[in-house]
């Protein structure tokens, strides 16, 4: 048990990820306001991106650009760039999702005059 907790504490980024992810999921599921649902969703997506970025991090490592004069590349001196590249694509996807969802929310608000899910569902009947 002690080792388990110790293992967790050595990886604060994982703890932060779990908190953000669950928080976002909770907001998305429980809130009735459509915009708040979106905020929750955004938090979920961002937490996954955060998780992906932190997996590439290393202690004392630098940006993945070749140091002048160095002929042999030593991978342990560089941060892993691949998660960052993946993240960039994931952020683009996230922004596009946000755009579409805001357009949908705006459409719903224009049509039904409310952002509350229950209210909208009542007017749908």
């Amino acid at each position: 048990m002690f080792e388990l907790v110790q293992g967790w504490l050595q990886r604060p980024n994982f703890i932060a990820f779990v908190i953000l992810f669950l928080w976002g999921l909770y907001i998305t599921v429980t809130h009735h306001n459509l915009l708040k649902k979106l905020i929750g969703l955004y938090l979920v997506q961002t937490s996954v991106i955060f998780f992906l970025v932190t997996t590439g991090a290393k202690d004392g490592a630098t940006v993945p650009i070749l140091i002048p004069g160095e002929t042999v590349v030593q991978p342990e001196t560089y941060v892993n760039p691949l998660p960052h590249v993946l993240t960039l694509t994931a952020i683009v996807v996230q922004v596009a999702t946000l755009g579409v969802s805001l357009a949908l929310v705006a459409g719903i608000y224009k049509k039904y005059g409310s952002l509350d899910e229950d209210e909208v569902l009542k007017r749908l009947e």
Binding site: Q45, L86, T97, V100, L104, G107, K111, L121
Partner: protein
Amino acid sequence: MSDHLPIFVFVSPFLAAICMPLIGLNNPGRCRPVALTALGTMFLLSVATLWRILGHGEIRYAFSGWAPPAGIEWVADEIAAIMVVVLSALAFLCLLHTGRETDTELGSRTVPYHAILLTLVSGLTGIVFAGDLFNIFVFLEIAALSGYALVGVSGGRALVSAFRYLIMGSLGASFYLLGVSYFYMATGTLNMADLAQRIPDLLHSKAVIGGLSFMFIGLGIKMALMPLHGWLPDAYTEAPDSVSPLLASLVTKIATLAWIRILYRVLAAGSSDTSLEIIGLLWVVGSLAAVAGSLLALTQQDLKRRFAYGGLAHIGLVLVGVGQGNQTGLAGGLFYLINDAVMQCLLFILVGVIARRYGARTLDDLGRIQLPPPWIITGFVVAAISMIGLPPTGGFFGKWYIVLSAIEKENYVAVAAVLVTTLLTMAYFMQVLERMLRGGQTGPSAQKIETPLQLRLSTGVLSAAIIGLGLWSDRVVQVLLQATSQLGL
């Protein structure tokens, strides 16, 4: 040159989608012929790809010449090529069948509608070809975002359904991405072929098991697997009539295909030296989805909703086949997947037509209308026969191979589940057919319903395809068996 075929298959709808706002700038009427041309070209190119692959083996396309695993790779094998032929043909017919009515129905939204439709098709093509887990995520999201927009394109109630679909779909995508990052942490690669070499040693690592579970949940939402299907019935019911055939026939099926590829290409599930519990889980979940989906379908009044629940059951049946972990099951599951795409497309086209021409959206409405013209009736009966699973249609042979694989595995619970699903499917189709065929006596007569040429063409081709898939099922299944034999089953 012929090595570049897969990318041209993708580019033809994608390029047209990007150029669509320019093409429709002055004259939105031009969008339709351009979109049809793009999809037609795509169909011809995908047939050429299939031809090439059947003759010379699979194509591995490394983008910009960067060899995998450093570069991004597309893998066009037999399964992918067959799926793309089906995809492009169905997309073409879905767009064709409405005629110019969509243009007048959508008004100012004509241009975005065509652009997004083509983006959806190119996104789905990307999922089919992708040889990289992250690439699948990107194309899943391209397809899904176009899907949300297409569901909501007619405004009003559809917006709410589209919003729900978006929330569920994006959560699914996040889960999938989380699974992918677990895989990356455990192995340091995302290329499927590369992963397949490293995964077997790591199958008991918690990161891989966790990643696999997250991916399954994510893709489960995308393929509307039974407990995760909440978004689907609303989205299909509220989507415009020209869109729901496309969504029903393709989106969930392609997500299922992605899951099958991950299972068999990456994890080599079912091969003797890797015992994967998830395979055992798959047929249980599939059986539950099949039985529960058709039971729920039986209770629905709204026609589109009824068939949407029916579609959930069919995804379940595919998973029953795939979950047996033998070659017959995998080939049978894939064959059923193809058949199901064609059947759903025909069924939703006809339901849409009946709703538009007669205003009949529920079972009771159906009893009041006059007898629909023979084109619609014939198409509907063919689709029903195939859905229930009677010979000589493709649906029968798909179910046949699934049952056969379950018997091979001596898995009689799965056999029972397939048979119960068949009976329930028969029950809910009989209700519909009975009302539809008896309606002629009471309905107001003399109201001539014309069936335009495009509609006849679409329903005719699709009905012929369903029967053709049955008559030539041997050939198709042979190809699928050959393709699956390389997967080490």
